[in-house]
């Protein structure tokens, strides 16, 4: 290896944050707005029947067009496909922060839907998580038609 010229590490002297505002499109807008009524919408492909959550305009399996007439209301209940307990959290600048209390995350297949959604899990001890558990959505106090209306998913009692 030939001589390496020394290097100087360069950091931004002032905060430098770029912001993004992604337009969501009509189908996703309907999905988000409907969360206000504590309902989760899916879209059933008219040709192959695959149900997408969140809904969208083009089926990824058979490429058919999916319209607003194909929107279906899901029950908000589902089964836990997979789960993990997070002991760390990624902060906005690329460091892993230790979590004082481990958080559970789940991969959930909602009843009547084919897509898997990834949501935080609450009201359960990480040790009790089991694949196949029945879970349901825990809505925020005051739902306002925002993605944060879904706070977490919790095991179905009884």
């Amino acid at each position: 290896m030939s001589s390496q010229s020394e290097i100087v590490l360069t950091r931004a002297p002032v905060p430098l944050v770029f912001g993004f505002q992604w337009s969501v499109g009509e189908m996703m807008e309907k999905f988000i707005k409907t969360l206000a009524d504590k309902k989760i919408l899916g879209a059933k492909c008219p040709q192959c029947g695959y149900v997408y959550v969140p809904p969208r305009r083009r089926c990824g399996k058979c490429y058919a067009k999916v319209g607003e007439e194909n929107l279906t209301e899901l029950s908000g209940k589902g089964t836990l496909l997979s789960y993990t307990t997070a002991y760390v959290e990624l902060d906005g600048v690329g460091n892993f922060r230790e979590l004082d209390k481990p958080k559970a995350i789940g991969a959930i297949k909602l009843e009547g839907a084919d897509s898997t959604i990834f949501m935080p899990l609450g009201e359960v001890k990480p040790g009790d998580l089991k694949e196949g558990m029945k879970v349901e959505v825990a809505w925020r106090e005051k739902t306002e038609g925002e993605l944060d209306d879904i706070e977490y998913f919790r095991p179905v009692k009884g």
């Binding site: 100087v8 360069t10 950091r11 912001g19 992604w22 499109g25 305009r57 083009r58 990824g60």
Partner: protein, 412 residues
């Protein structure tokens, strides 16, 4: 080498703010338009070449999320990006996929959605290109006055400003000619339903009324930042002949790199280029592409050109580098109307990048517009003559990545 042709072209409407769709839907629309134009079903597509400048839209490797929207799941996908010439490099990637014999039908798609970033226009991405270098300058104590002199020019267009001055100095081209080019392109864009800045009947005087940014550029000269996507279907010879009445054959292509043209290299070091309008990379790419396409005298054999010109000076200086007009004489050809729709070599009948600039999609659109002209599908801005050979050009980075693509109406 296997002969490869473009058999389908698709675009979305490019405009400043496409807030009616999300990124996946926008790219999906472009690909579906192309597939319908080619009468090819998504199941028949063997491979995809995709690209956009991910820093502008804030989503890394977006094709892994939106692959389902364009029918790419379960298929090979190759992501290619080279700055502004991304669209051209993506089209080259799709060409090589088919020409190599590995695949029979490939889709090339490229896009940009600037309105998804909060900062105006394309400042997010453009700022991030040289951010490391700027911080190195600041750490080495660059004077604020120096930053001012850089930003006052940089705000207009960085290298393009100096590049225009070099070209004007050595060719005699004047600011009025830049007004003429910008007016021509915005008039042309008015006849292209997908273009962004459409100004029917725009005159050089209209452009001359706009405010100066930094001599020689006015606000009226500068390209917009657009949201938009474009896509193309390429197929090998026998499929192309079966599926398409008049396919556009890719007869020559090259993308030769030059040294960075923007006064600074890595860490704000120097560069060995004295005349920013010399563009050796463009000359080299044109030579190679024409040789491959069997074109000896571009001035006679090329019927029309689509040149990547976010700044009007670039339509003139790159037209010369593509051998379409004599050295330093493109502005005179402009005056004589040789670049208009009835001229010897119509340039940028689509309005070009001066009227529509979704960075990923722009260089692909240049090839796509040439293909539309050859296939006779350019509708309002179709050139009223038989198009045998067309050349599409794209530039990226600090005008150091050049794509030149020569299309023809017959494979031989």
């Amino acid at each position: 080498m296997r002969n490869v042709a473009i058999i389908g072209c698709g675009q979305t409407k490019h405009s400043g703010r496409r807030r009616d769709v999300n990124l996946a839907e926008m790219v999906g629309d472009a690909v579906w338009n192309a597939l319908e134009d080619a009468q090819v079903s998504p199941l028949e597509v063997d491979a995809f070449a995709v690209g956009n400048m991910q820093g502008f839209g804030g989503v890394a490797q977006p094709e892994q999320w939106l692959g389902d929207w364009i029918g790419a799941s379960g298929k090979p996908v190759l992501r290619i990006t080279t700055g502004g010439s991304t669209g051209g490099s993506v089209a080259h990637g799709a060409f090589y996929a088919v020409a190599s014999g590995l695949y029979d039908i490939a889709v090339a798609t490229a896009w940009e959605k600037h309105s998804d970033s909060k900062e105006p226009g394309a400042t997010t991405g453009l700022g991030h290109v040289g951010l490391g270098n700027m911080l190195n300058l600041v750490n080495c104590g660059v004077g604020f006055k120096h930053l001012l002199s850089m930003f006052v020019v940089g705000a207009a267009a960085g290298v393009a400003c100096y590049q225009a001055m070099y070209y004007m100095h050595r060719s005699g081209c004047r600011v009025e000619h830049l007004d003429m080019v910008a007016a021509k392109d915005r008039r042309n864009a008015a006849k292209n339903k997908y273009a962004h800045l459409q100004w029917p009947g725009c005159t050089p005087e209209d452009i001359a009324k706009t405010e100066w940014i930094a001599y020689p550029f006015r606000y009226g000269h500068i390209c917009p930042a657009s949201d938009g996507a474009s896509a193309m279907v390429l197929a090998r010879e026998d499929i192309a002949k079966k599926r398409c009445k008049k396919p556009a054959w890719v007869k020559g292509l090259a993308a030769y790199s030059d040294e960075e043209n923007q006064i600074m290299s890595e860490g704000a070091g120097g560069i060995g280029i004295l005349d920013a309008s010399q563009q050796i990379g463009a000359t080299m790419s044109a030579i190679k592409a024409y040789k491959m396409a069997g074109i000896n005298d571009p001035q006679k054999e090329i019927d029309l050109a689509e040149i990547y010109q976010p700044f009007p000076s670039q339509e003139l200086l790159f037209a010369e580098r593509l051998g379409l007009f004599d050295e330093g004489k493109a502005w005179q050809a402009l005056e004589k109307g040789e670049m208009d729709i009835n001229g010897r070599i119509p340039c940028d009948l689509s309005g070009g990048v001066n009227a529509t600039n979704a960075i990923g999609s722009s260089a692909l659109q240049r090839i796509l517009e040439c293909a539309l002209q050859i296939m006779g599908k350019a509708e309002e801005h179709q050139v009223p003559k038989e198009v045998h050979n067309a050349v599409a050009h794209g530039w990226g980075g600090a005008t150091n990545y050049i794509t030149v693509t020569v299309l023809g109406d017959s494979p031989y």
